[in-house]
């Protein structure tokens, strides 16, 4: 329980800044991503859950290519850097030869759903004991805001200037719902980083995914909705609400599959 703050006198120590809270597994907290980006909170949540579960000295992250790739050299976790779209196959090979390791991928929606959709589907269907994490901001953030396969209808991007129109650009893919029915899949959830409550839920989802992998139950997947005010062409402060209203109404947060609960329910 948190102690009730004494407000009768000024605090004895200086106010702490974000950098003062660097988690132990982040070597350098000063990231290079845009203000308001949701990816740092997502990645921080992932490495903190690895640490809290006591899995640190077994963990290997397999990174795709996107804005988040800039975290691969600043995390104090082993990293295999994969090509755009190819992290699930690299994770598969690594996990098969190092079965005691905890292997998780970090990919964006462009990386996983556009470039490498086949990889994640087959990795899930094989029931590989790896965790795939998709940071879904609905755009190619690194290229400056272009449509991906998860871009919601009506969203304006640099190559859907009038908004995503299903007649011309097709419909978005709901990745979590696509993977959940596959037999090899043990855990699927979609979280979001747009407010503290959602981050709290997200941390529990990530912990569940790593536990499922640790316990050898099968493939686990966590999709994380992240803000990208730069790629959405909106004010930084508007991004959390935009995520909540526009993205989360199509890509709905929640736990979509957990085989542990199914077993308990009989």
């Amino acid at each position: 329980m948190t102690d009730i703050l004494d407000t009768s006198a000024p605090p004895k120590r200086k106010a702490r800044l974000v950098d003062d809270f660097e988690p132990s597994l982040i070597l350098e907290g000063k990231h290079q991503l845009c203000a308001g980006c949701g990816e740092p909170a997502a990645l921080r949540s992932a490495v903190e859950m690895v640490n809290e579960l006591g899995l640190t000295n077994r963990a290997v992250a397999v990174f795709g290519i996107g804005c988040y790739t800039s975290f691969s050299p600043v995390m104090d976790l082993e990293v295999a850097q994969a090509l755009h779209g190819r992290a699930p196959s690299v994770a598969t090979g690594l996990k098969r030869v190092q079965p005691d390791s905890i292997v998780f991928t970090v990919q964006g929606d462009g990386d996983m759903v556009n470039e490498g959709l086949q990889e994640v589907i087959h990795t899930a269907a094989r029931g590989e004991a790896v965790t795939c994490i998709m940071l879904n901001n609905g755009v190619f953030g690194e290229t400056g805001g272009h449509m991906t396969s998860t871009t919601v209808l009506g969203q304006r991007t640099k190559n859907t200037l009038g908004g995503r129109d299903p007649k011309q650009h097709g419909f978005p893919i709901r990745m979590a719902e696509m993977l959940a029915p596959l037999d090899g899949v043990a855990y699927v959830a979609r979280g979001a980083t747009n407010n503290a409550g959602n981050i709290f839920q997200l941390r529990k989802m990530l912990a569940s995914a790593f536990e499922v992998q640790r316990d050898g139950l099968g493939f686990s997947f966590v999709e994380i909705l992240t803000m990208c005010p730069t790629g959405w062409f909106i004010q930084t402060g508007e991004a959390p609400d935009y995520l909540g209203e526009r993205m989360a109404s199509y890509h709905k947060p929640g736990i979509i599959k957990d085989v542990r609960l199914e077993t308990e329910a009989g």
């Binding site: 070597l27 077994r58 963990a59 990293v79 295999a80 190819r86 196959s89 090979g93 098969r96």
Partner: protein, 363 residues
Amino acid sequence: MSAELLEGSEALAKAMISAGCRFFAGYPMTPFTEVLEGMAKHLPEVGGTCINAESELEAIGMAWGAAAGGVRAATGSVGQGLSLMQESIAEMCFARLPLVVLNMARGQGDYFQATRGGGHGDYRTIALAPADLTEAVSLIQQAFHFADRFRNPVLFMGDYYLAHVIEAVDTGPAEFEPLPAKDWLLDGSTSGSGKARIISPLMPVKRNAEVFVEYGDYLETSGDKIAKMEQGMAPLYEAGFCEDAEYVVVSYGTPARIIRYAVKQLREQGIRAGFFRPISLWPFPSSALADATWSAKAVGVYELNAGQMVDDVRLALRDREVESIGGISFDDSGFGIAPELTPAKVEVRIRDAMSRLGMEVAV
């Protein structure tokens, strides 16, 4: 171990396992399929893993992951499948990862793909091309050694003939110089230590390393890496009847086996022909070729394509007349069976070439 009668593809699989290969992934395509079958059969017997991948892209991705985990890994296909793998082959060179890639090629149209690379950026891969099964089971083991020694993918060039020839071969382990331990492999053990490892085509170390290498500087190290590999490995070749030869035929792979036989037949008839066979296509045995052809008035290149290796022969022998005497030859199976590749037809081509150049070819 002693020799046993084996089909080529199964012998290759057994030799790879003798070399310590414990991970294999592939997508079926004849005549690579047969090697994949051999690995699927024999790898589990030694506790290894063989995965039937969903595509060539994923096959090499899986092998990439296994290599990063420190295990000797291989994949392969035919030239078509290798086209799909080029991005990963190039980037694994940048990431300093060992891998053996088999190209069980259809014909010899993949010489440029193997030696120039179909991928992007500045990289090179050692390419080894055996002429028969005995040499193949030895070279495939050397391929794993070179891959680990240089931390670079190595190509092994086979074909339909090699996959299906049945010969008595010893697939037991070969002896090699000891290699340093893989102190770079990923298993999670360094996570949280402040010195977590990274294997990346983008950088060699993490941000907190004593000497961090920026991306541009890292790319610039590729030239040194290629030079080290080229200087560190003596090109492999075989030469025969070259000492007083008027005409030397250069050929690699299965056709070179036929050329070797044809040249021997010509010698028995008193015709001064010789042969030269590059075994490593990269690094190409340029100076050995120059030495072997010192007495020759002209050099012919026999390859089952429209003329690819002939470029390397011309680069090696800039003062000598060099011509192509091979050509594309396919039967309708599409598997790379060459109707032109018979000892009699090959002998006629050599005779005709020598005769055109005014050399003595009368019996």
